[in-house]
Structures are given as C-alpha cells and as structure tokens.
Subunit: 397 residues, 2 copies
C-alpha cells in the first residue's frame, strides 16, 4: 500500500511517499469486526503465516500460531501481517529512495519509534476500511507495538495479546543493542550508513550483531543442552538447521557422541566448539539478507519505547489510557524479557481495573520460546482467541 | 625471571627463552612455608597489591584484599603475584620476539592453557626456592588456575582459595568469548594477528570485545541501579570512573536527576543513554592498552579449561587428585560464573571427603563482586587466612 501524505514522526521529522507491505489471511466479516493485526519483532516481516506457492520453506514466521484451525484461526479471523517502516522486507526502508532528494536514504532514513509504527499501521487499517481491531498481537518488540496500540488508539482495540515483551528495555537490554550497533557502525564497510553507494555491505558488523542477539534469545539451559561443550567435528557439516525468523532454535539431531572422538585444535581463530559454529553460521546467514541500517533503526525503536516515561516512570498511570482486554504471556527462561517485566504490565493494568489474563509458561527455550511450539502456550492463545471469536459471534447473533 | 629451557605446552608445542613477570610482598619465612600465589584473571597482571612509588592510581588489582593487615596479610604471608605467559603486561606474549625466528610472535604465539600457566608458575616457584604453597588463590580465570594447581601439583598446595569461578565454561560463556574473538579477528586491522608489523591495532574489535565483557561482568540489578534508562546529558562529561582491573564498577555519583532534563536525540549512532556512554568509554580505554592476540589467547584458555573432561565429565573423579583444603566463594548475582558452578566444585570435593569451606555472598555486583569491597566476602577470606597463619605459627612453635 502506497501512502503519499507525510506521516509525522515522533522525532519531529516526517516521511512521505512510502510503501507499507502487508499480507492478509482469512476473510473480513461484514461488520469488519474480526480483524487481527500481527506486529513483528526485530527480524521478521508481514509474512506471518502460510507458504508462498512454489516456494519451499517459505513458512510465515508465526505459522505455528496463525492459520486455518490454528490458535489464531484464519477461518474465523481476518489476520493482517504488516511490515514496519524502516524494515528491509518490503516496506519503505533505508535502502529505498527518499522522494525528496531522489537519493537512497541510507543513514538518513528517519528514526522511527514503536509509536510511529503504530501510527503507520493505523493508516493502513484506515485504508483497508477497518475501524476496530478484534485484537492486536505481537511478541517481543511486536508486543510493545500491541501495548502501544492500546494507548495510542484505545477505542480501536478490543483485545491486546502481548507475548514475551516488556514495558521498556532495561539497561542490560540497551547495552546489548548498543554493542551490536557499534559493531555495525564501526565496520569500515558501513561508511556512516551510506554503504549502498560504495557497493559494499558491513557484513562483519552484522555478523557480530547477530551473534550477540542469538546469545540473548536462548536460555543458558537450552544452550547447554543443545551445544554444551561439545567440539565441532572437523569432518562433519556444521550441526545447525535453517534460520528461523528471530533466531528460533531449529530442531537438530543430537551429536553428543562427538565429544570423545575429536581432539582440540589449540587455535584461537578456528572453530573449536559447536556453539561457535552455530553462532558463526547464524551470523553469516543474517549478514547475507539483513540491512545494517534497519538493524540500527529497529534496535533504537526498542531502546526508546517507554510509555511510562511521560508519567514520571509510573506505568500504572501510563496504562490508564488502555481500555482493551489483555492477554500477557511470558516464559520462565526468557532473560531478555523476563516474566518479571510482563508482570509489571499485568500489575499496572490491574491497578486500572482492566481485564487481564496472564500465562507464565515454564518453557526451556528462553526468549525464542515465543516463536516455538509449546502446547501450553499455544493452548493459552487458542483459548483466548476462541473467547474473542465467541463474543464476536454472540454480538452478531 | 628469564627461563631459557623450553616449557612443553598442552598443545604439543613449547616455548623457550621466555620471561615471567612477578611481584612479591612480605617476607618468606625461614621454613619457606608462608608463600601465597595469586593467579590473575582475564585483564590483570602480577601487580596485585600496593602502589608504585610516585605513581598515583597504581593500586594493584586486588589491593583491597592483599597487603599489610588486609585479609591476605602480607605481614604474615609472602605473597607472589605472577603475570601469565601470553599476557601483555610483562611476561612474554604475542608482542614479543620469538627467539627461534627473531620475529614478533603475533598470531604465532602458542596457545596456552590454564595447565600451562600453572606449569610456568611452578617453575617460577622452583626458581624462588619455594616447594610448597601455603595457599594458591584466584578469582574467575584465576580461580581455575588455583583449582588446577591442586590437581597438577597436589603435594605443593596446602590451601586453595577459588573465588567466583567454575569447573569449566558453559556454552553461553564460550559463546560470549567467541563473539568477542570474532569481533577482533574480523577487524580489518587485525591482519590475521600480525597487525604489529602493519603499524595498526584492531581497536574496533577490542572495543566490541570489551563492551561485551563488561555486560557480563555486571548484574542486571547493578546496571539498572547505576544507569537504568537515564539519558546521557550532552553538556556533562560522561558519568564513569577510572578503569578498574577486570571492569569493576567504579563508585560514581548518582545522576538520576538527568532523566527529565534531557531530550532524546533520535539518533542511531550517537550516545543516547548513559549505559552506552559507559560501555563506549570502557571499550575505548581497553583498546588503548590491551593486546588483541592476548585477548584471543586468554579467552581460549578459559574455553579449554575442563579438568573433568578426561574423566568423562565426572568432576568428582577429576578432583580426587586434590589434597588441599579449599575455600570457595561465589556471588549470588554473578551470572557469568554463577553460584551453581561453585557448588559443583564444592560437591565434587565433598564426594572425595575433602575439607571445604564455602561462602555464597549475597552481593549485588555480579561477577565483578570478586574485585570489590564487600565486608562479608573480605571477612570470609580474612578468617580463612587467619586460620592458615595460625596453623603455620603452630607448626613453627
């Protein structure tokens, strides 16, 4: 969808003549009351579910969650996946031309915030003729957008599903983002963000950024289980699977028997342990397809999000605006966005007498759990959406 | 101390014609029974205590622990601080000449392990005429050396004090080391480790490595308390103190009042939050004085240490060799080397009927706590060394 009119941004800048990529699934009902908006996290897109015809392995990043008969059932809901401004997967981003200058944006792409994304998403809904969302849903950074929807457009959101998220980043979260950004911005191939015109890509920095990210997506436990201290067998291919959206750990066969059969190389630069091979592989893949400026923009949007800020840090006061009903989900081993952060949101909503369901899932997979199969997690979401569907059908009858 | 004879290394290589830098404090008694060896961690040296004449701020890295009347009392003990091979603070390392080739070692400096360091330290003690250590003591990587002493030279160690350490690194620890190493080794100024002859230093990589390290040294809690989401005031100097040995958080005045007075810059490359400024500052300082090849070597030594490996992962079997008495100390908020890892050592020693004291200190400072003032921690060490001193004086009488 093309938008010619300028969108004012939180920074004071604006962006005009931009595209927003989106996909829809299912059918919008006559009352236009069954729309569900899915917001994505760091490394995902509008392609939330299904596969593209003729393209193997093109499953949407939340395909286990969204589709016919799935927890977010596209036989009942009209699901909209949207790609955010600044991304590198379809919507206008740093690699596109600035219509004002005719030059590729590069580092001049305006800094966009969670609030800006929500405003852009609201414009998309306007264009689609959808006034009210049955639900807005997202995990991690996507959960921040869902939460922000309930504050920016309270009257347009009936339900918000906020998974593995937080009311803001803590210092450690910002610290990891900053190291990743410095790795990119100090890569000599970054050229201050204008690398496109030099025909290079700051792959070294992107690799480091992705490796750091991966460590924070996984729990200590799952890393020890999947990799432990096992050495990389020199003759076998690296033991890792396909690259899932936000670094979800792919199911892989065990290789615990390698430990005793492999000798140390005594090298500081070669791969010695399987965890090293896994991280390098993930870094290499990421550097092939992700845009460096997008990485900076998206991590900055994470850093900036803090709805309580203008209320002096009082989250309860900040969430007083929200009128939606909520489902919050967190995962016990998620140390990036820990259950304690979700509980802050729950508490603040309860302080305002809001209707809140909260599921704290005892899952081993760390932050990545929000993208993975977990029967209790999927059941909680299914049950929540079934009750939304029932109430929609009730109001129709 | 110069050593001409080749030291065989675990890798099968050897090193000859090398120097080991060391300092001593206090007086060796007539029976040569009061020697205490201090082993250092990632970023420290033989200068463990005291100040150099005429040099302000030259306190040794464990000066709060070691000195006259301090927990490790140099009025009673003869303390030896030693710098490890491969370091950049005095002992022979990658920036020195290989006597065989006449060329600077660079990346050709042999990979050294905890076991190699202990062997080099034992040679130093031989040269000093010290057969038996009253105690060997270290924190973090230094604790691994202390533990390894009790296995490699059980008859030469009466007591081992192992602080904030682990029987090996877990996958997450290795992962952080690997990201740091990749940041250094992929810096174009690294030149495969032979950057000296190009007259450059891979500072970009060193900065990233140090920033990652710092995040893991601090606890989430202390980061939130010291920095939180506070913005960096553009007109004030960066709010950080001098650089302590392994990144100990310096005491700093609070600046919580900045939050409301500063606006966002909406920039992906400028410093926005105080935590960013702190990390950049630490990275910049480190890149000025630390050697890139040393960083690779020392993190690899950490990765490799695993005394249980040749016992099929059975730590109790591995520690059966040890005859020393032990003091183990861990810190509750240390997520780099968590208390659970210290407890593994305690359990394995108890399985062997060894004499073990264990203090788990409820400290807020994360891994860095082992370098900081904490009354209970210092008291536990003091009390342990007092009992060693008493038994020495008893045996003398």
């Amino acid at each position: 969808m093309h938008f010619e009119t300028a969108l004012p941004l939180q920074s004071g800048a604006s962006i005009r003549g931009y595209d927003v990529a989106y996909e829809t699934y299912g059918t919008l009902n006559a009352g236009k009351s069954n729309a569900v908006l899915i917001c994505h996290a760091l490394n995902a897109s509008h392609h939330v579910a299904g596969v593209y015809a003729g393209q193997e392995k093109s499953e949407g990043w939340w395909d286990n969650m969204i589709g016919p008969g799935k927890p977010v059932d596209t036989n009942r809901f009209f699901v909209i996946g949207v790609n955010n401004l600044g991304s590198c997967f379809g919507s206008t981003g740093p690699m596109h031309k600035n219509p004002d200058s005719g030059e590729v944006y590069g580092a001049d792409f305006p800094v966009v915030t969670v609030e800006d994304w929500v405003n852009a998403q609201a414009r998309l809904l306007d264009a689609l003729g959808i006034q009210t969302l049955a639900a807005v849903m997202g995990g991690s950074l996507g959960g921040m957008q869902a939460l922000s929807w309930t504050l920016q457009y309270p009257e347009r959101v009936k339900h918000a599903v906020v998974v593995a998220s937080a009311p803001n980043l803590n210092a450690e979260n910002i610290a990891f983002n900053e190291v990743a950004r410095r790795a990119i911005a100090t890569d000599p191939d970054f050229h201050g963000g204008h690398f496109y015109k030099h025909g290079v890509i700051p792959k070294r920095g992107l690799r480091i950024a992705r490796m750091i990210g991966h460590i924070t997506y996984l729990s200590d436990d799952v890393m020890n289980e999947k990799f432990g201290r096992r050495l990389q067998a020199p003759t076998l291919p690296a033991a890792h699977g396909a690259l899932p959206p936000e670094g979800a750990l792919a199911a892989r066969g065990g290789s615990s028997s390698l430990r005793d059969g492999v000798d140390l190389k005594y090298s500081t630069q070669d791969v010695e342990f399987q965890i090293e091979s896994y991280l390098r592989y993930q870094g290499d893949k990421f550097a092939e397809y992700f845009d460096a400026n997008t990485y900076l923009l998206i991590t900055r949007a994470l850093d900036y999000f803090d709805p309580a800020k203008k209320f002096g840090g009082n989250l309860s006061a900040a969430l007083a605006e929200a009128t939606a009903k909520f489902l919050l989900v967190s995962f016990t081993t998620d140390w990036r966005f820990s259950p304690a952060r979700s509980r802050e949101i729950v508490r603040a909503l309860l302080d305002n007498g809001r209707d809140v369901s909260y599921a704290e899932i005892d899952a081993p997979h760390g932050h990545d759990a929000f993208l993975l199969e977990d029967a209790r997690y999927l059941r909680a979401v299914r049950s929540y959406f079934e009750s939304i569907a029932s109430s929609l059908e009730g109001s129709k009858a």
